[in-house]
């Protein structure tokens, strides 16, 4: 599995994702410059966290017009894997690959801390090595991560089983207290219909080494790395 990490001028988790794939997983990985229309034939595109173009107007708003995104859209349409983490998730909703939007945390504050997530499905290339309903700990770090969508969209997401991660408590309960940012239905991550595009607010790359406090995020990258190349997405 060849990975590509997109670099927007204001990305700041690009090197972190690269590090995990290169040094922890020892898998091939390339940087993809925002101004180039070239995905370097990678299998999985990562849109990393950060502040793509400063995020001054709306998070992810300007990034969606960058040349590389044209190719990412094509890649996704052809069934290629795409994962957007944090700012990457915001970009995916702006560009329309995923529904809904991410708005300001009700606390009006940037929030950086660990969260517990329940893995809602493990039949995806991104989550195949997690157990179903497994509770994992992955940190968030965002000011605008509150997931919103209109009612129909939300219903559709639930009906089609497209919620991949939900904020939960230590027993896996989904409730208000375990919801750090007011996301509807405690949504932390969703996928598209085909299941080849994932967006999530928490940062799996930040817990992929024991010394940094956990390995729950590494499982996601290992799932991807082990996914059969060209294999069908469930």
């Amino acid at each position: 599995m060849r990975f590509g990490v997109v670099v927007f001028p204001g990305s700041n988790c690009d090197a972190d994702c690269y590090h995990v794939i290169d040094k922890v997983l020892a898998e091939p990985v390339e940087y993809l410059w925002h101004g180039d229309r070239d995905l370097k034939e990678v299998d999985c595109v990562i849109l990393p966290g950060g502040f793509s173009y400063g995020d001054y107007l709306r998070v992810g708003a300007i990034a969606r017009f960058s040349p590389v995104m044209e190719k990412v859209l094509e890649h996704a349409a052809g069934g290629g894997l795409v994962i957007g983490i944090c700012n990457g998730f915001q970009i995916l909703t702006e560009v329309g690959l995923l529904p809904g939007a991410l708005v300001r945390n009700p606390s009006l504050k940037f929030q950086c801390h660990n969260t517990r997530l329940r893995v809602e499905r493990n039949d995806l290339p991104f989550t195949s090595l997690y157990k179903k309903k497994e509770i994992v700990e992955i940190p968030i770090a965002h000011g605008e991560g509150s997931f919103v969508a209109d009612e129909e969209t939300l219903e559709l997401l639930e009906k089609e089983n497209r919620v991949v991660f939900r904020y939960c408590d230590e027993n896996g309960e989904i409730n208000g207290i375990s919801n750090p940012n007011g996301s509807l239905n405690n949504i932390a991550g969703i996928c598209n219909e085909k299941g080849n595009v994932l967006g999530m607010m928490p940062h799996p790359e930040r817990c992929a080494e024991e010394i940094l406090g956990g390995l729950d995020g590494e499982i996601l990258f290992r799932s991807l790395a082990g996914w059969r190349q060209g294999g069908d997405v469930a």
Partner: protein, 732 residues
């Protein structure tokens, strides 16, 4: 020249005379403006230089001491740690969000100007009481500003400190520290070498903002301060991120001769300092400087403090290559002049000469003053206060809970949860512990960092307070398993023209000096911030010590939380009957009096080295120093951090309040597995370190048994109090 004009520039009559002497003629307005900022305290250190000379600045590991944009220490393998602290107090008091944000931006530039990649930030903050609306407004804005800038640029904010005290009510303190990592061979300096080499302005456009920021920082705040609008700027962290990446890419090419960020006094200070350091001159056509607004005068362009700009001296012929790199990042890089060999700073607008001044006249030739110093009256009274008459409160558990819930001791989680402290994947120990620890990828090493200053001690005895600030910083690093390496300091004081303030400053600096010598932590840079007063009232003297340390083996990193049931708790150091200057006195008795705790620097050093050896040998499982609130609070913090209780006996014959809440220095709490205890104790005996076995870890309660008294508190109750306190105030 009219007297009002040079007075307005902050110059004295003698200084004006000197300038005329240097130039051999009357200066014009532009020249006077340039002298005004360069000879301001903020840029010239004219009132503090003589005192700062006493700092130890050399050592085996010092690659770059004071004088450059930041200090550099050798950490082995050809790598260096680059670090510096700086104040942004006055702007933050006027516009907390932007003031703090641009403070962070400024110190980050100092680090990457050296060619280093910034890897972490810290900050040291002081506000008035949390009960005050204005303080909460400032606190809220400052933290948001630090977060807004640091999170966006992607540099983790890994630690710092926050204190609340009424003396900061109007004049908050915002000190920002940044740490970078560099291959020593790649260090870039702020020098304009090689006559004929091109000089470029890179980064953001120049606007009218911040004109006279340096002079502003060299005056007291008053009702008129709010009118000094231009002195506050708006930061653009995205622009700085672009500038950072472009500069680091540029330095790799080898085309850079010298580089300096445009901080206080903008183009003026960067050009004159770069020329002065190299012994060269510089000629610039400011008509070429890209600007944001029309109709700017030479005076305004030279003095603008627009953020996110750098001055670069490149190798001749490399102009295009430099411009290409900046273009890739969407930035401008414009040649505005060249290095000359005449020693003059020549500012032209087109063909017109707007200013012509010897570069060294602006730097080295600035007069240095030895101010009058006088021991303040308050000190004698405060130190003589008779503490023996204090009533002994019975319910020590209640006192502990009260202390855990005061802003100065309570968890700073409300603050650091707003900071992205993880980005970069190096944060092994984040905020909330004694010191933060970063790993260095590709090696087994780690760097630890902290900032510290107990201003109450400094107020009650500036020299001793200065010593303790250094000792505590070093102790915090040691508790993380790191060897303290060096210091950057930010000396925040009132108006130095008052002999009492200057005395505080001199004494505190002397204390820092002494401690740095004994603990072998040279000072590689820092910052002085005077005039922190409002309406004639000075802040508490606050010499903040920023310190970095080295872990040779990151796997030996240490944290303060208790680890396992039945581990043995050992206290290194001695409990003394010292309540002067404590949090207990201040919070419970409303008193800020007495002599601060004594400190024996040699004993401190011994305890620190011994603790470090125990950690390196893997003999202990946790380490935490006793600081504000004393032994009882330190124990509570170990319990809360580890989620475990403890059973402790304090058998000494001493007043319970002194034993529990006294803040005697040079004490560290460690825990060890039962089977390692003998070995630990024998090490301590051999090293002649005084110690006491206090008890053991376990259960859900912290129980402290004294002679005739007992404290028993549930860990979860203490945690609730400790973690929620600041949020409670801020939700008001």
């Amino acid at each position: 020249m009219k007297k009002e004009f040079w007075r307005k520039m902050g110059l004295s009559e003698e200084e004006y005379g000197m300038i005329k002497g240097i130039l051999g003629r009357d200066p014009n307005e532009v020249e006077l403006g340039i002298f005004g900022v360069m000879w301001s305290e903020h840029c010239s250190y004219k009132n503090s230089k003589a005192v700062l000379r006493s700092f130890p600045t050399t050592g085996e590991r010092v690659v770059q001491g004071p004088g450059e944009n930041a200090g550099v220490l050798d950490i082995g393998d050809g790598q260096g740690v680059v670090f510096k602290i700086e104040s942004h107090n006055h702007p933050s008091a006027i516009e907390p969000y932007q003031g703090a944000a641009t403070g962070v931006g400024g110190i980050i530039r100092d680090i990457f100007t050296m060619g280093a990649r910034p890897i972490a930030s810290l900050n040291s903050l002081r506000f008035g009481s949390l009960k005050s609306k204005r303080s909460r407004y400032l606190f809220n804005g400052v933290v948001a500003g630090i977060a807004g800038y640091g999170n966006c640029i992607g540099i983790p904010t890994i630690g710092g400190e926050v204190y609340f005290h009424p003396s900061y009510e109007e004049n908050c303190l915002v000190n920002a520290m940044c740490i970078g990592l560099i291959d020593i061979k790649d260090i870039a300096k702020g020098v304009a070498q090689g006559p004929g080499n091109p000089v470029l302005v890179v980064g953001a456009k120049t606007g009218k903002d911040g004109i006279h920021g340096a002079t502003f920082a060299s005056e007291e705040l008053n009702e008129k301060s709010e009118e000094k609008r231009p002195a506050v700027q708006v930061g653009d962290p995205f622009m700085e991120k672009l500038l950072l990446e472009a500069c680091l890419e540029l330095i790799k090419t080898g085309y850079v001769v010298g580089m300096q960020d445009m901080g206080a006094a903008g183009l003026t200070s960067s050009s004159s300092e770069m020329a002065s350091r190299a012994g060269t001159g510089m000629e610039m056509d400011i008509a070429k400087v890209p600007r944001r607004e029309t109709g700017m005068t030479p005076y305004e362009i030279m003095l603008s403090e627009s953020q996110e700009r750098m001055l670069v001296v490149a190798k001749s012929g490399a102009e295009k290559a430099v411009q290409d790199i900046f273009a890739k990042w969407g930035l401008e890089a414009v040649v505005i002049g060249k290095v000359t060999d005449d020693g003059y700073l020549t500012v032209k607008e087109g063909d017109e000469v707007a200013a012509r001044i010897p570069a060294k006249a602006l730097t080295e030739m600035c007069p240095v003053y030895a101010k009058e110093a006088k021991k303040p009256e308050y000190l004698i009274k405060a130190q003589e206060y008779d503490l023996s008459t204090l009533p002994e409160l019975g319910d020590y558990g209640q006192v502990m809970m009260t202390l855990l819930g005061t802003g100065n001791i309570a968890s700073k989680e409300w603050v650091y949860r707003q900071y992205d402290y993880m980005v970069g994947l190096n944060t092994v120990v984040g905020p909330g512990s004694d010191a933060a620890v970063l790993r260095i990828k590709g090696t087994n090493k780690g760097i630890a960092a902290t900032t510290d200053c107990n201003a109450r001690y400094v107020y009650l005895d500036p020299r001793q307070g200065g010593q303790i600030a250094v000792a505590e910083a070093a102790r915090n690093l040691v508790c993380a398993g790191a060897l303290p390496l060096g210091v950057t300091d930010c000396l925040n004081f009132g108006n130095p023209e008052k002999p009492e303030i200057f005395w505080q400053f001199k004494e505190a600096a002397a204390g820092i000096s002494e401690a740095c010598r004994t603990l072998e932590t040279p000072v590689t840079g820092g910052n002085v911030s005077f005039y922190n007063e409002t309406k004639g009232e000075a802040i508490y003297p606050t010499p903040v010590v920023g310190m970095v340390g080295l872990l040779e083996d990151i796997s030996r990193v240490m944290t303060m939380g208790f680890k396992d049931e039945d581990d043995i708790i050992i206290l290194l150091g001695e409990n003394k009957d010292e309540l002067g200057g404590t949090a207990y006195l201040s919070v419970i008795h409303g008193l800020e009096a007495g002599k601060p705790p004594s400190i024996d620097l040699e004993a401190e050093r011994l305890i620190q080295r011994t603790t470090l050896a125990l950690i390196k040998e893997g003999l202990v499982k946790s380490a935490h120093d006793c600081a504000e609130g004393g032994l009882s609070i330190a124990l509570a913090e170990c319990c809360i951090a580890g989620g475990l209780g403890a059973d402790v006996v304090l058998s000494e014959e001493m007043k319970a309040s002194s034993l529990l809440f006294g803040e005697s220095q040079s004490r560290i709490i460690v825990t060890a597995h039962k089977e390692k205890m003998e070995k630990v104790l024998s090490r301590l005996s051999i090293n002649k370190v005084p110690y006491k076995v206090l008890g053991n870890v376990g259960g859900e309660y912290l129980t402290i048994n004294g002679s005739g008294w007992k404290v028993r508190l549930a860990v979860c109750d203490m945690e609730e109090k400790y973690r929620r306190a600041i949020a409670c105030y801020m939700d008001m």
